[in-house]
Symmetry: C2
Subunit: 181 residues, 2 copies
Amino acid sequence: MTDINFSMASGDPDSKGSDAASSSNGELRWDIIELLFFAYRDFVGDADHELEAFGFGRAHHRVMHFVHRYPGLKVADLLDVLRITKQSLGRVLKQLLDEDYIVQKTGNNDRRQRLLYATPKGEALVGKLAGLQTDRINRAVQEIDPAGQEAVRQFLRAMIDRDDPDKVLETIFGSGKKPRE
Amino acid sequence: MTDINFSMASGDPDSKGSDAASSSNGELRWDIIELLFFAYRDFVGDADHELEAFGFGRAHHRVMHFVHRYPGLKVADLLDVLRITKQSLGRVLKQLLDEDYIVQKTGNNDRRQRLLYATPKGEALVGKLAGLQTDRINRAVQEIDPAGQEAVRQFLRAMIDRDDPDKVLETIFGSGKKPRE
DNA sequence: CAAGATATGTCAACATGACTGACATAAATT
DNA sequence: AATTTATGTCAGTCATGTTGACATATCTTG
């Protein structure tokens, strides 16, 4: 694996011709599309390794993250945020409950609800994973001035669909206040 | 790109995890971690919906994207970029070849190699998907000034691991020149 | 040239984490 | 009392990832 034939090899069916699609005006943002791919791949990539040691996967991380961030989240809210089915959630949630990373509390007003909370054990794991991701973010941001850092945040917020926000997005966008931490 | 749907996880047992600093000192970047999750979820969601109509999944999108962007890519290079096994790639690639979205050409120097190229049909699909994602990106950056937009790009580049770059990353970072388009 | 290494392909089995559909239970609402 | 809602669960399927073993063609080397 060595020589690379990128961009200059012999036959190159070439083109670009078909960009039609919906960005009627012109240039496609190949650079950002690709940077998002690699950035996200590496951002989440580190984690799988750590999670393996616990016998968990990404699904577990997602659940623990949101339960930690929004204590007392209902199962239904979690389903909205993660956009998966209750059957899928059920599997990972059951493991997290059995292994004591998360606990359920019956709702006060509505006793059908199961409000979710991270245990200290769960907090520890989610914090460790967030630490790794924070390190990467800090490295990435260290040479960017405050205005640029705010531009990054603004960009990310603007990339998110706002049409039918779930509870978590309402918290993030709705009032500007952060859930905690 | 596409699809990359990694979710959110990161973890690395000890390399830096044990420094504890970031995981317990209250400076965790929860906001950016979460924004990245939602931004990426919606970013790839655009393509996912369209792909369904073709009976393809994210794996197909990833392959077509990189073959389109780096015409003449070798199978081995694609494996490096996607970080999957050849058996996994084989399944998707076979479909794309059978359905005429991609073609193979025997290498000139090394006849063992199969250089990959997108067909016009493949170009059309990949362009359509990039159009959807470009629309979202354009919407997101429209109120960000040029300096801020450059900060976004810088941030994304800095989020990417540089230690053992594959051919594509070498092209992206190595010389600063873009592969094409 | 013969021997080995490399690039690719393929068969088979298995894991994870999605999905659908159907059904059960408890608690709230009407 | 009847219905709806919130949650849980059984059963089967699909997409996409994994290992391991092995085949073939072709390049590289002793």
